[in-house]
């Protein structure tokens, strides 16, 4: 998981972010889920978005809702 420096959010839902110095606009949220992780080790709950960016690229973003930190979880070529 690589940290994302900038994510734009509206009503807790991301609509754009910067990835490898490129601005990516989110065209569609394809799926959304939450994962509690290894809670017994103190891992936080993360929220995940599978989104479609412009140019049909598909990404999975993860966010810690407590700290508002964002990560790139998956990139589908």
């Amino acid at each position: 998981m690589k940290p994302l420096e900038k994510v734009w959010v509206r009503s807790q839902v991301p609509y754009a972010f910067v990835w490898r110095q490129q601005y990516v606009s989110i065209v569609r949220v394809m799926d959304y889920w939450r994962d509690i992780g290894e809670w017994w080790r103190g891992e936080p709950e993360l929220w995940f978005w599978r989104i479609q960016g412009q140019k049909d690229s598909v990404f999975e973003l993860a966010c810690n809702p407590q700290t508002h930190q964002w990560w790139m979880f998956h990139v589908y070529d």
């Binding site: 394809m30 799926d31 959304y32 889920w33 939450r34 994962d35 509690i36 290894e38 809670w39 017994w40 709950e45 995940f48 599978r50």
Partner: protein, 1022 residues
């Protein structure tokens, strides 16, 4: 309108739900959820509490259950109105009784038969629609949907969208929406709730691991990905299903339509079926009581008439006439069948029960108050508890089943809840603690709440000794949250419910582990469900008594156990010496010590003793003042002359609950029912404010009757002081009968009584090893298991020698024990291989027979016999057969391993010379030391425990056994810090102790494990 949740599991889904029904209701109230359904898996056990809790806070409670249809998937069933409740119970019963015990399934036919009046939701991802879709069985879905529509119609079948934020939800919801649209079925929104609050997820996940038998680090398909199965606020549901607003609308519309079933407190009491023609149950009961009264009271019968009329009128008004007839009939059956029994508990407060032969306590002569048992004010179902000979109790239960029909009778359930030890064992395993460490930890947990354990960690040496205490504390913190939650359902040992109509309309029935049918409610809930319970308890002491009496009668046909005098001097003397090991309820160290101070010489002393040695009186410091008054060392005074008749039998001390009732009635003019209500409020330690209000009422009423306000205040304070400690006198008197009689048997017929005790094991306070030491101490010769002399159980041989039987060997069932006797050849067994040839016996069982010396009379070299069976001798290569006769200590080790006791001698005996040389006395010698003298001894540790103390400090009591007897010991709070770890957990059971002798035993100064020296064969098994 507020929120709705139609799919919620409580902890009654057993390890698949982490909150109690009440916790769910409280959280629903907090979240403004106005309609809540309880839908445990195949289970309605949580329903009574759920309905009660919901009605308290004004939540509309819907009853339901989650089921599995065939092997297709889950379906949530809801009861739309009262009349449909019975359809759900019948459906569950049919499924549960016709499926493997832990894998219930509902067949389509069952669903067709009972589902038509119910409402169905299609469940979450394990549901009947989503699961086939996820498993790629999509072609099956149209047929499943069609069958469901055929049963429920399109108005009562809902496609469920569960808001759990799982990957793929969007796709699944789209598919379900498509199904709904194409079949004209409405969507509905649920949270598939498994716990009340999001923060309860950790506990739920640990419970899932317990259920699936995996560690928390392990991945498994049944683990939940996230913490989203909590009761969500309604706005969260609305926002999550923004694309499906009709699901929200339909959910609210359904909530409007469904009703809370009106099923609580609707009596289903049985009718007595064999009334004489033309006689109603009231007349018949009155006639039976009259007849019984004549027998019990003879010429004095007139005196009890008004009391009997009073009791009968309350019984009639409360609707329990038939119940008394049912119980009378059961008692009559037992008597006719020669099954020993005795009524106990507050039923012994009833003269009617006494006249009907249900109890043996004369409530009239003892002036026991009926209202302690039942009253109009209390409006509770009375509990009539009867103890039966443990060996024959099932015959009684079978009689009831036959008489009332299998559909009307079932065993009551118990919910096995997590307690500290179980919680530690199960959670520790899941959290990865090594099994050995867990076992030791579980064994060493003190009798405190987990909260107290954590907060007092540094005061508990056996916990403090664990190196990774932070990790342990973390685990105990989890254990704290699980304690009290139900883990699985069990069978109440004695409780049978009887119902006028078929039980299927009241509760589902299922198979218990023992293969009998149980209902899904426990003893508290059956009352809420309007069911009546018969408590047919089993008491092993009666088994022991029965065997004893038969042995005595064989020698003395005139012996009449039922007519033993209550004033046998020798019996009281024996008790006075604290010599009561084996006596029912009077054998514990605390009872024996009390006897040595109380010096019992009359019947009432026994009744008082049974009430005194309880946590309440001990913590309330009642024992010593009582003894002082009984001994005449303290004057017996009464705050008011009217108290004398009530309190004289307990020397002015309020010892019994019945006395509190009598005081309130006599001094303040409370009706007996009101007085019992007062007693119950006091007993349950209500708030200071409530107590003050009660006090005012008492004083007002007492002063109105001419009692001065000072005296009224003092009497009230005395009642408050003792009410919470008071014991039920009727129960004490009922138990005292058996206690005294067993003391009589022990005194006058010790051989027969020890035989009875041994054959009724396990029972009583002490293990068999202690009983054998006691028996030997009384001059009874014990003979070891002998392949040609022993029977299955222990027997008396000529000259009163007691022979141990085969069934005392661990792992020897009754069947094998009997077979060894039945198939014994003429001339006897000569070699173990003969047994192997004739009987189905395992190698280790055969070895055990050799190891306990069963063949010693025919072939004393045990080693040789073992090698004959499976060693070098059997191979036939040797020119000379190997053999070796075992030594004394080796023989004893095998005795303890296989039987748990020494057949020939107690564990310490072989070391006596060595112990003597090194200055250790026997326990018997210590008892003869003067008070205050120091002494030291070595013995086998028995029952270390930390009972509640007045100061709240941790004090340990334990016993040490050697071949001469038993020594009671007390370890102070301060020294417990130093030596406690030798007593709890994985301990070495042979301890060397030193200390100062006190009247009640030894006040311990030091403890150390005592190791058997070089010759030794290790520790005795614990």
């Amino acid at each position: 309108m507020g929120g709705v949740e139609f799919h919620a599991h409580s902890a009654f889904s057993f390890l698949a739900g982490a909150s109690t029904p009440r916790q769910l209701v409280v959280e629903a109230f907090r979240q403004d959820i106005k309609t809540l359904a309880l839908t445990d898996t195949f289970r309605l056990s949580g329903v009574p509490t759920f309905l009660e809790a919901a009605s308290e806070v004004g939540i509309k409670a819907i009853v339901g259950a989650e089921i599995v249809v065939e092997d297709l998937g889950q379906l949530v069933l809801l009861v739309p109105r009262t009349e449909a409740y019975a359809d759900l119970t019948r459906l569950l019963t049919e499924a549960l009784l016709n499926s493997p015990r832990k894998q219930p399934r509902v067949r389509w036919e069952t669903l067709e038969r009972y589902g038509r009046n119910l409402v169905a939701l299609t469940g979450d991802r394990q549901g009947i629609i989503a699961r086939p879709w996820l498993e790629g069985r999509r072609a099956e879905i149209p047929e499943i949907t069609a069958r469901l529509i055929d049963i429920f119609g399109t108005n009562n079948l809902f496609i469920e969208l569960t808001v759990n934020y799982l990957p793929g939800d969007r796709l699944i919801f789209q598919f379900l929406d498509h199904v709904a649209e194409s079949t004209h079925l409405p969507l509905v929104a649920t949270g598939a709730v498994r716990y009340a609050r999001k923060e309860d997820f950790g506990l739920f996940d640990l419970m899932t691991c317990i259920r699936t038998g995996q560690r928390v680090e392990e991945v498994g398909p049944e683990r939940y990905l996230n913490a989203e199965n909590y009761l969500k606020p309604w706005n969260a549901m609305v926002s999550a299903l923004g694309s499906w607003p009709e699901a929200i609308r339909n959910t609210q519309a359904l909530a409007e339509r469904l009703e809370t079933p009106d099923i609580l407190r609707k009596p289903h009491y049985p009718k007595y079926p064999d009334l004489p023609s033309g006689q109603g149950s009231e007349r018949y009961l009155a006639a039976l009581v009259k007849q019984g009264a004549q027998k019990r009271y003879g010429t004095h019968v007139a005196q009890v008439q008004s009391r009997i009329r009073h009791e009968l009128s309350i019984i009639r008004d409360m609707g329990f006439t038939d119940y008394f007839l049912v119980v009378w009939d059961v008692a009559r059956f037992a008597r006719r069948a020669g099954i020993r029994f005795a009524g106990r508990g507050s039923a012994a407060d009833s003269v009617v029960a006494y006249c009907l032969g249900i109890t043996d306590v004369d409530a009239y002569s003892r002036q026991l108050l009926f209202e302690r048992f039942m009253s109009r004010e209390r409006q509770e179902t009375p509990d009539i508890d009867i103890d039966f000979d443990a060996k024959r109790r099932d015959e009684v239960a079978e009689y009831v089943r036959q008489k009332y029909g299998a559909d009307h009778v079932a065993q009551v359930a118990t919910y096995q809840t997590f307690r500290a030890r179980l919680a530690v064992r199960e959670l520790g395993k899941v959290l990865g603690f090594p099994p050995g460490e867990l076992d030791a930890l579980a064994k060493s947990l003190p009798e405190l709440s987990i909260d107290e354990m954590v907060s007092r960690w540094d005061e508990i040496p056996e916990l403090r000794q664990y190196p990774d205490s932070e990790r342990l504390k973390l685990m105990l913190n989890w254990a704290r949250t699980i304690v009290g939650l139900p883990r699985h359902i069990g069978t109440h040992l004695g409780g049978l419910v009887l119902s006028q109509e078929s039980l299927d309309s009241v509760s589902p029935r299922e198979w218990s582990e023992k293969g009998i049918q149980i209902i899904q409610f426990d003893k508290r809930d059956i009352e809420l469900m309007g069911l009546l319970k018969l408590d047919l308890l089993s008491l092993r002491t009666f088994t022991a008594i029965d065997m004893t009496v038969k042995e005595i009668e064989a020698q003395d046909p005139n012996f009449d156990y039922e007519r033993l005098s209550h004033s046998d001097e020798a019996t009281y003397q024996r008790l006075d010496q604290g010599d009561a090991i084996g006596v029912f309820q009077l054998e514990s160290p605390a009872q024996r010590s009390l006897a040595q101070r109380l010096h019992p010489d009359r019947w009432e002393d026994i009744v008082a003793s049974l009430a005194l040695i309880r946590p309440g009186p001990i913590k309330g410091n009642m024992v010593e003042p009582f003894i002082a008054r009984r001994q005449g060392l303290e004057p017996v005074t009464y705050l008011h002359p009217e108290l004398e008749p009530i309190l004289s039998k307990t020397y002015g001390v309020v010892l019994f609950q019945e006395q509190v009732i009598a005081i309130a009635s006599t001094l303040a003019g409370f009706s007996p029912g009101e007085a019992d209500a007062l007693r119950r409020v006091m007993t349950h330690g209500r708030s200071h404010e409530t107590m003050q209000q009660l006090g005012e009422k008492f004083k007002q009423k007492a002063t109105a009757r001419g009692i001065t306000s000072d005296v009224a205040e003092a009497v009230f304070q005395q009642m408050v002081g003792y009410a919470s400690y008071g014991f039920n006198e009727a129960h004490a008197a009922a138990f005292a009968e058996t206690a005294y009689r067993t003391a009589y048997l022990l005194e006058h017929h010790p051989r027969e009584y020890f035989l009875g005790l041994l054959n009724a094991e396990p029972l009583g306070y002490y293990p068999i090893d202690v009983l054998l030491v006691e028996a030997r101490r009384r001059g009874i010769a014990i003979k070891a298991i002998d392949i040609n002399q022993s029977q299955a159980c222990a027997t008396l041989e000529s000259e009163g020698v007691l022979r141990i039987g085969f069934s005392f060997m661990r792992g020897f069932g009754k069947e094998l024990a009997d077979a060894l006797v039945v198939h014994r050849p003429v001339g006897g067994w000569q070699h173990p291989s003969q047994i192997q040839e004739r009987l189905a016996i395992k190698q280790d069982q055969l070895n055990a027979l050799v190891q306990v010396g069963a063949f010693d009379e025919v072939a004393p070299d045990r080693e040789g016999l073992l090698l004959d069976l499976s060693g070098a001798n059997r191979l036939g290569f040797l020119t000379q057969r190997l053999q070796r006769v075992w030594g004394r200590q080796e023989k004893m080790l095998w005795d303890y391993k296989i039987c748990g006791f020494g057949q020939h001698e107690q564990w310490m005996e072989p070391w006596r010379d060595e112990l003597k040389r090194t200055g250790y006395a026997t326990t018997d010698e210590l008892k003869n030391l003067s008070i205050g003298k120091m002494g030291r001894t070595v013995g086998y540790l028995i029952r270390p425990h930390r009972p509640p103390t007045r100061s709240g400090r941790l004090v340990v009591f334990f016993s040490l056994l050697d071949e001469t007897g038993i020594l009671e010991a007390r370890l102070s709070s301060a020294l417990y810090q130093k030596f406690g770890h030798w007593l709890f957990g994985r301990v070495h059971p042979i301890l060397a102790v030193s200390g100062r002798m006190q009247p009640q035993g030894m006040e311990i100064r030091s403890i150390a494990p005592w190791n058997t020296k070089p010759s030794a064969m290790g520790s005795p098994p614990q």
